[in-house]
């Protein structure tokens, strides 16, 4: 393979993975921005959408409808999660909310283990998930291309939503300064519900592409996306949506890049290094790569 097509290959893989990681990070950050809650149970929203694919996939509906229904399932789960578990502890401190999310995550996983199956289950997925295109010496997975497009589309529509709609404006304002936003008369509950709905939607889209990689869904399917979202959002800046997107793409390029160029023995320590960097970023540059656009007293 010549260097040019090698580079294109690298770009395609990284863009597709980065887009996926960016969506993961966005779903986490949109909630964090408002509630200062790192939602561990975000991964279980991915799981809900995954089992949605399994359940709805049994029906004769076309896959696009199945996918939309699964995303809707994740949105409902996200909103319900906030209503049932997080709203009652919303006024507590950061630790209480973190532990609540840890408990919600464990709860949903245990229910899936019991009620569905501890084993990976394969939903019916269309064959585009396994096909690839040959372009000269290049072989590109179709799903990677769709992933790149879907990632960009999701990011663009979210931006439009946040900039052009009332609730979107309220969300952005709340992310900047929640207390002030409430004082100005924006209903807190609706804003928070909207944030969880968007988080659920991101999780749903992530689920389709993440589960599309293995063709299987299982109770702990959401763990890795949460960990990735975690690294990406700390890298990019926990308090900035732009930062989350950037963090996602940086992490995508890094992951493939390290896999490609790092000696293998070293690569085994990749996760350790990544999370080490997370600690370093928190210590040295807590705002991440992108500082939030406002100034707030650092607590």
């Amino acid at each position: 393979m010549n260097p040019i097509s090698e580079l294109i290959q690298y770009l395609v893989s990284s863009l597709s993975l980065g887009g996926l990681y960016a969506l993961m990070a966005l779903g986490l950050v949109i909630v964090y921005g408002i509630l200062r809650l790192v939602n561990f149970a975000y991964g279980e929203l991915v799981m809900v959408a995954g089992y949605g694919l399994l359940l709805f996939g049994e029906s004769p509906l076309p896959f696009i409808i199945v996918a939309i229904l699964s995303v809707i399932a994740a949105i409902i789960a996200g909103v319900a999660m906030e209503r049932v578990a997080f709203r009652p502890v919303r006024n507590s401190n950061a630790m209480t909310m973190l532990i609540t999310s840890f408990a919600v995550s464990t709860l949903l996983q245990s229910i899936a283990l019991l009620a569905i199956s501890p084993r990976p289950r394969a939903p019916n997925l269309p064959s585009i998930f396994v096909e690839s295109l040959t372009l000269g010496s290049l072989q590109v997975k179709i799903v990677d291309l769709i992933g790149i497009v879907a990632g960009v589309l999701a990011l663009v529509s979210l931006t439009v939503f946040l900039r052009r709609t009332v609730i979107g404006l309220a969300l952005r304002a709340a992310a900047d300064d929640f207390t002030m936003t409430r004082l100005l008369g924006v209903p807190a509950n609706r804003v928070i519900s909207a944030a969880f709905a968007i988080s659920g939607m991101m999780a749903g889209i992530v689920a389709i592409f993440w589960i599309g990689r293995t063709g299987q869904t299982y109770p702990t399917v959401g763990l890795q996306p949460v960990l990735i979202a975690f690294i990406a959002s700390v890298l990019g800046g926990m308090e900035s949506l732009k930062g989350a997107v950037l963090g996602g793409y940086v992490l995508g390029f890094l992951t493939i890049g390290l896999q490609t160029w790092l000696p293998q023995g070293v690569n085994n320590y990749r996760d350790a290094v990544m999370f080490g960097i997370v600690i370093l970023v928190l210590l040295i540059q807590p705002q991440g790569l992108i500082r939030p656009s406002y100034s707030r007293e650092v607590r």
Partner: protein, 379 residues
């Protein structure tokens, strides 16, 4: 919150009352140990041994979380370090050949062989030292950032343990570890840790730390260095976690890094939250309730399923296999406690003689110092 506390009747804290807490807690543990001895049931004995080790870990975590008000998910990083470093010293070179076959025979460590007690102390020292070093930068963080950093620390240590085969055998199980930890050893460990936790809480550093937990700026204005107190609590907590790991390693006799991860972290945090992170009593009570509650649920599940197989009246009432409810109940219990009683069952108070006096008919409640609930504190 603190304003309300100051307006209350000034606390009368008799020395006897204060000192009664660790005594009561330890007596409670001894009673559990005696019941276990009386039952002479090997399974119950094991349940109680694990309970004591988990209690030790919960109290160790309380030292940090209760006094600093910061949440840590990183405890199992130190448990991992304690477990592995204890076996480096407790195993003979011959045992190491089987347990840690990847350790080069030329290493100084390979030749080391110490009595169990010394190995424990070394593990505590290594865990404490690691905690002290990592703690220097870490205690500068606050709130969610701190918790995220501790979570990252757990993952870093886990991944390094999975790869550093010379020291840990990598992802593979280390085995053939002699069983030095029995119920009595675990009991002694738990009792010592309760005393330490209590002493720290009542020490000057502990008092100052709790003051700064309530209002760091106000505390700073009277010269309290919160970071110093947090660092001491963190280091102490790390050393105790390492002790827990070392004890557990010599109880279970074989383990891999997979045994020190999220599920285990969740269990200890759950114990602390349910009991109430604000007090040593809370950690101890939470550990006992969660451990025995889980064991009981497992027994009830088994019983129902046996009845079902036997087609008895009770069995036929339940149309499905009853499985795995313990985990679900635990998770729901945490959520309910956090929603309705965010500072746990004990509400951040210690059990003292007064607690018992109040329970007696006609007993008079002696006003007690208001313990500030960590988790109830609103930001």
């Amino acid at each position: 919150m603190s304003a309300v506390a100051t307006r209350r009747e000034a606390p009368r804290r008799s020395l006897v009352n204060t000192l009664s807490t660790p005594v009561i807690l330890i007596v409670g543990l001894v009673i559990i140990a005696l019941i276990s001895q009386w039952r002479a049931d090997v399974v119950f004995d094991r349940v109680v041994t694990v309970l004591f080790i988990n209690l030790l870990l919960a109290v160790g975590l309380q030292i940090f979380m209760g006094n600093s008000g910061l949440g840590s998910f990183g405890q199992y990083a130190f448990v991992t370090i304690g477990a592995y470093s204890s076996i480096w010293f407790s195993l003979t070179p011959a045992q190491k050949r089987m347990a840690l076959p990847d350790m080069p025979k030329t290493w100084w460590l390979y030749e080391q062989h110490q009595p169990f007690l010394i190995a424990l102390l070394i593990a505590v020292a290594i865990g404490g030292l690691f905690g002290a070093l990592i703690g220097v930068p870490l205690v500068r963080l606050r709130g969610a950032s701190f918790t995220i950093a501790t979570f990252a620390l757990l993952i870093v240590v886990n991944r390094v343990a999975l790869q550093w085969a010379e020291l840990t055998r990598g992802a593979r199980t280390v085995l053939g570890i002699p069983k030095y930890t029995d119920l009595n050893v675990a009991l002694i460990g738990a009792a010592i840790v309760i005393v330490i936790a209590f002493a720290f809480k009542e020490s000057t550093i502990g008092l100052k730390l709790r003051a700064s937990r309530e209002d760091e700026d106000a505390a700073a204005s009277i010269g309290i260095n919160a970071a110093w107190g947090r660092w001491v609590a963190w280091t102490l907590s790390a050393a105790i976690s390492a002790l827990g790991g070392a004890l557990w390693a010599h109880f279970i006799q074989q383990f891999s890094p997979h045994n020190f991860y999220l599920r285990e972290t969740f269990l200890i945090v759950a114990m602390l939250v349910i009991g109430g992170a604000g007090s040593v009593s809370g950690a101890a009570i939470g550990a006992v309730l969660v451990a025995l509650g889980q064991e009981e649920l497992r027994q009830v599940e088994n019983w129902i399923n046996v009845e079902r197989t036997a087609n008895s009246v009770v069995g036929n009432l339940i149309p499905f296999e009853v499985r795995g409810f313990a985990d679900i109940v635990l998770a729901i219990a945490i959520i309910l406690v956090l929603v309705w009683r965010p500072s746990g069952i004990t509400q951040g108070r210690e059990i003292t003689i007064n607690t018992f006096r109040r329970l007696l008919p006609g007993g008079r409640r002696i006003p007690q110092g208001e313990a500030d609930p960590v988790l109830g504190k609103t930001s």
